[in-house]
Each structure stands twice: as C-alpha cells, then as structure tokens.
C-alpha cells in the first residue's frame, strides 16, 4: 500500500516571551520535538498522551495551522513545506479535522447547512444551490442527522449532535485524511459510543486514513490499527494496537494502561498497581536525558545523562527507552 501521510522528524517549537523587564530571555517550548510516523491509506493511527504533550499541536502542524520549526510532512508523496500558500490551501480539501469541543467548533451565527456547505463554497464554488443542498443533506444523513434540521443553529443541538455536524463538515469534501482531535472527550459515555461507531463505519466506507487523538487508551484501542504514545512532545512507543496492549515495553505506556480504571468491580478492586508518582514536568524546561525519568520507576543514572534513541524492538514496534 502507498503511504498517504508521512511525517518525518517533525518539530514545532514556540517562542515564549521571557520574564523580567530588562533583557527578557526568550524560552523555547518544544511542543512537538522530533515526531516521525507514516500512515497508510485506510489506516487509523491513534495518538495518546497526557494533557499538554503536544497532540493538538502535532495535528495543527500537519494541517498547516501552526508554523512548523523543522522536519517534513508528505501528503500522497508530495512535500507540503515546499508548496506555496495557495497550493497548500488547495491540499486542504484532502485533510480535514474534527475538534474536541463540539459547540465551540461551530460558528454560533450560522445554520447547519451554512456550516456544512462552507468547504463546498471554497472548493466547489460552481456548484448550483440545489446540488449543494442535496450534498449537504446527503452527508447529514450519513452522519446520523435528520436532513430536515438543515436550517437550525448549533445551539439548538446537543453535544453529540454538534459533533456529528462537525464530522459532516469535515467529510463533505470526501477528504483522504481525517484528523480527529479528541472528538469524544467532551461527550457523555453513551454518546461517545455512537460517535466512535460512526467514525469507524465512515472510515471503512470511505477508506479514510485517520489520525485519532485521545488521552484515553481505551477509546484509542477501540478504533485504531496502530497506536503512538507521546510524552512531552516526543514519541515514547509506537506499534500495532494488539501488540501495544499485549506487550507494552515503555514504562510510561505500562503506567498509562494500569491507570485506566476498568468498569468491573471484581477486577478493579483487586488490581494491584502503583500509580505513577508526581505530575507532568513543565514543557518549558523538560528533564535532561529521558524526559520521563522524573516519574519513571526504572530510571537509572544513564537516563539522566542521555536521551534514549528510538529503537525497533520487534518488527514495527518502536520504543524510546534504554531498558526496553
């Protein structure tokens, strides 16, 4: 299969204005620091990590919504960095995004049909009014919205329905790549399942490639073919879904898996594990060497001295840890 998306050593750094009145020192926040992965057509890659580890920034970087500091992004064999702004805008119809906050991602002053039709107006301006409406209603039906709600406003819908509107907008151009930035985190459990099922169906139907971002490993497990775990802007482990859950190699991945409460009192009450201690270090000054070492139960002297390289421990299973 051809690789639809390839991200190579991507770096996205932010300059944070320093404090102090005289000679303020700028700090660099390495939100994404050397991430590489690729994505086949029709494949779903789950990206997991705790708040602030750079998941959203990675998504924005791929879409060209934040400037990229280093590395390269290839979409269908074409490097995006070399494209002019106009050319890049054209590529946008192949990459779409679904956001975390369902209501905030819809313009409150537009009707559902205006919202969903907006990408059509940009990329298919010659489309007749009738055809456009037809397309909008078609996609609304596909994502499980009643087409007669076409003239309603976002605030008249529930969270789950708003998320469906967001998905419809992302799909109306039939993109090749769909990036979902925590699309279910803000939803109720019973609605989460609806949206996950919808995304899985659509992905199969349209042969979409999907980047599915979440902070919850159980959600990612449901939907992904492969999973990448991030910590402080770096990849710590990446492998196929089953491999990751059967044989997690990185101490952080193991801690994440252990920390997820299982909805079964018989298991949950007998679970023996030591939760990770401490909090995420500030991304402004990450620890030297391995950035996980301040919380790692296995940390040794070498971890402070040297950052672990990414190693392939078995086929397609990458880990960055000295002792994996």
């Amino acid at each position: 299969m051809t690789k639809l998306l390839r991200v190579d050593d991507l770096k996205i750094h932010f300059r944070i204005p320093g404090e102090g009145l005289f000679r303020p020192r700028h700090k660099t926040l390495r939100a994404v620091d050397g991430i590489s992965f690729d994505l086949d057509a029709g494949e779903t890659l789950g990206i997991v990590g705790e708040s602030g580890c750079g998941k959203s920034t990675l998504a924005r970087g791929i879409l060209g919504l934040v400037p990229v500091t280093g590395g390269s992004i290839w979409l269908a064999g074409e490097e995006l960095a070399h494209l002019s702004a106009r050319e890049l805008r054209k590529r946008r119809q192949h990459m779409q995004i679904v956001f975390q906050d369902p209501l905030a991602s819809l313009d409150p002053r537009m009707t559902v049909s205006e919202i969903i039709a907006e990408p059509l107006q940009v990329f298919e301006p010659n489309l007749g009014k009738k055809e456009r409406k037809h397309k909008v209603q078609g996609i609304m039906e596909r994502v499980g919205l009643l087409p007669n709600q076409i003239n309603r406003y976002p605030h008249e819908f529930s969270g789950g329905q708003c998320q469906r509107i967001g998905i419809a907008r992302a799909l109306v151009l039939k993109p090749k790549l769909l990036i979902c930035d925590e699309p279910v985190s803000a939803l109720d459990v019973s609605i989460q399942a609806q949206i996950i099922n919808l995304l899985m169906d659509i992905q199969e139907d349209m042969q979409l490639s999907m980047l599915f971002i979440a902070h919850d490993l159980s959600v990612v497990k449901q939907i992904s073919h492969r999973v990448m775990v991030m910590y402080l802007g770096k990849m710590v482990e990446a492998t196929t879904r089953d491999d990751l859950y059967r044989d997690p190699r990185h101490p952080y991945t193991r801690a994440l898996i252990d920390a997820i409460p299982i909805p079964d009192p018989a298991i949950e009450r007998n679970k023996k594990f030591e939760p990770l201690q401490g909090d995420l270090p500030s991304p402004l000054d990450p620890p030297s060497g391995c950035s996980f070492r301040t919380r790692c139960p296995m940390a040794a002297d070498s971890c402070a001295a040297e950052a672990p390289a990414q190693r392939e421990v078995s086929e397609g299973h990458w880990v960055s840890c000295h002792f994996a």
């Binding site: 924005r60 991602s105 002053r109």
Partner: protein, 293 residues
C-alpha cells in the same frame, strides 16, 4: 421515505438574534424603554408639524410665560419669547443626531482599528494599541475646547470631536473580542477548510462581534449626548438659534427660580432618553449573553 418526509417538513431554526429578541421582549424595563424612546424619537422628528410655532420664532408679547393651553405654548416660552415645546423637540433632534452620528464615527474607526489589531496580532497589535493608550492619556475635553475656540462653533466639528474621543473604548472592546474569536475553534475549522482570511473576517469574526457592538452602541449614544450637554453647558455647544437639550438646560438653569418650566421640560426629556438608552443597553446585554441559555 425518510428523505421525502424530511424534505417536506424542514424545521426552521431560531438564530441567536431571534433568541435574543425573544428574551428582550420578555424584559419589561427594556421594552418600556424601547416604547418611550420610540415615542420621543417620533416627536422629535415630527416637531415642525406638531406646533404652529417655529423654533426661532420670537413672540415679543409672551416672554417667559408659564405653560398654558390657551395661548398654544404648552411648555411655556423662554426668556426671549420662543415656544419651548418646539425648542425642546428641536433640541432633541440635535442631541440625538449628535449622539447617533458621533457614535457612528466612533464605531467605524473603533471597529476597523480594533478588528485589525486583534486579527493581525503580534507587533502590529502592539503598536496600534500603544497608540490608543497614548491617545487615552490626552486631555480630550481640553482638546475639544481648543478646537472650538480655533475653528468657531461648528456643529460638524462637535460630531467629529466627540466621535474621536469615543472610538478608543470601542477599539479596545472590539480588539479584545476579536482576539478571543480568533482563537475559537470554529475560526480554526474555517482555516482548515481553506477559507481565505478576508472571508473569515467577514463571515465569522464580524457577525460574532455584532452583539457586543450593538450593546456598546446603545451605551455610547447616551454618553455622547451627555458630553454634548456638558459642552453646551460650558457655552461651547450648538449655536443660537439652534439648540440642543444641553443648551436648553443651560439656559433654563439661569433663571430657574422665575421660570422653572424652561429647565424642567428639556431636563425631563434628556433624562428620559438617557434612562431609555441605558435600560435598552442593559436589556440587550442580558438578552445576548449566551450564559443565560
């Protein structure tokens, strides 16, 4: 079947504006204010047809007479024998016109300045907002008075001068709002869909700014009317025989004891108008506040 049924019964949505309007209609104070203000505006516009007298017509026989129905001067006359009813309405025209035009001036400058600074951000924003800060520090009343003294009392100058004071607040408010809007996910979503910058500003930023601008306008108009009154009080407002509520109040105050009606009627109209605008502004703010949803 679903499709045909659905297409035939398209549900109409209720926009945020309609929602806000419904809420405003339920607000008794605001609704009363709208009615009162509408009445005042109608009176003011229809002034020439409502009274047999001209606003600068002097009746030498009736100087400083009290209100009376018999001689047709229902608000009485002033110290040079002009009909106060007509003059109050005529003054209202001037005050409201100053209020509206000056607010429009401040609106245009303020929105352009604020939205540009907010949307572009970075260094441009920094420079533009520092300019606003500097202008804030200027003693504007003093500046207006100087203008008047140099160029004479020109009514247009008043509009412009007052507008020039008020756009600063507007610019700050609009900039703040633009900054928040710019970081909203729906704007990011539009960018991700390839929508161009001018279109984003027109389709997403401006419509979402309107709510706060409308509220601010209803609160700025009375403010401007007050500033004009203050200038008139200082004797720097409109020129005789033209008049405004501020000028009338000033004249009336001079012989308040002998002819209180010359103060009370214009002052009453002025106060009522100011109250109305403030009530409407508050009502709009509540109605447009999405937290209440």
């Amino acid at each position: 079947m679903n499709q045909t049924l659905a297409a035939s019964t398209e549900i109409k949505g209720r926009s945020l504006w309609q929602d806000a309007w419904q809420r405003l209609l339920r607000n008794k104070a605001a609704l009363t204010a709208v009615v009162v203000l509408a009445t005042i505006s109608l009176l003011v516009v229809a002034a020439p047809w409502l009274s047999p007298y001209e606003f600068d017509e002097i009746d030498w026989d009736l100087i400083s007479t009290a209100p009376s129905l018999e001689n047709g001067h229902i608000f009485g006359t002033d110290s040079v024998g002009r009909d106060l009813f007509v003059r109050t309405l005529h003054g209202g025209r001037m005050s409201l016109m100053v209020g509206i035009i000056a607010t429009l001036v401040s609106l245009v400058i303020g929105i352009t300045w604020g939205a540009t600074a907010g949307y572009i951000g970075g260094r441009v924003d920094n420079i533009m907002m520092r300019i606003v800060d500097i202008l804030y520090a200027m003693p504007f009343m003093f500046f207006v008075i100087l203008l008047m003294v140099f160029f004479g009392r020109n009514i247009y100058l008043i509009f412009i001068a007052i507008g020039a004071i008020n756009w600063l607040d507007m610019a700050r408010i609009v900039r703040g709002q633009t900054l928040t809007l710019k970081n909203k996910e729906f704007v990011e979503a539009a960018m991700a869909c390839g929508v161009s910058t001018p279109r984003i500003i027109l389709r997403h930023i401006v419509p979402n700014l309107l709510g706060i601008v409308v509220v601010y306008v209803t609160l700025t108009i009375p403010q401007v009317i007050l500033v004009e009154s203050f200038l008139s009080f200082l004797g720097l407002g409109v020129q005789e025989p033209n008049t405004s509520w501020g000028a009338l109040v000033n004249e009336g105050a001079q012989d308040m004891e002998s002819a209180p009606w010359a103060l009370l009627f214009p002052a009453g109209f002025l106060a009522a108008t100011l109250f109305c605008f403030n009530f409407i502004g508050d009502g709009l703010r509540d109605a447009l506040d999405p937290k209440d949803r």
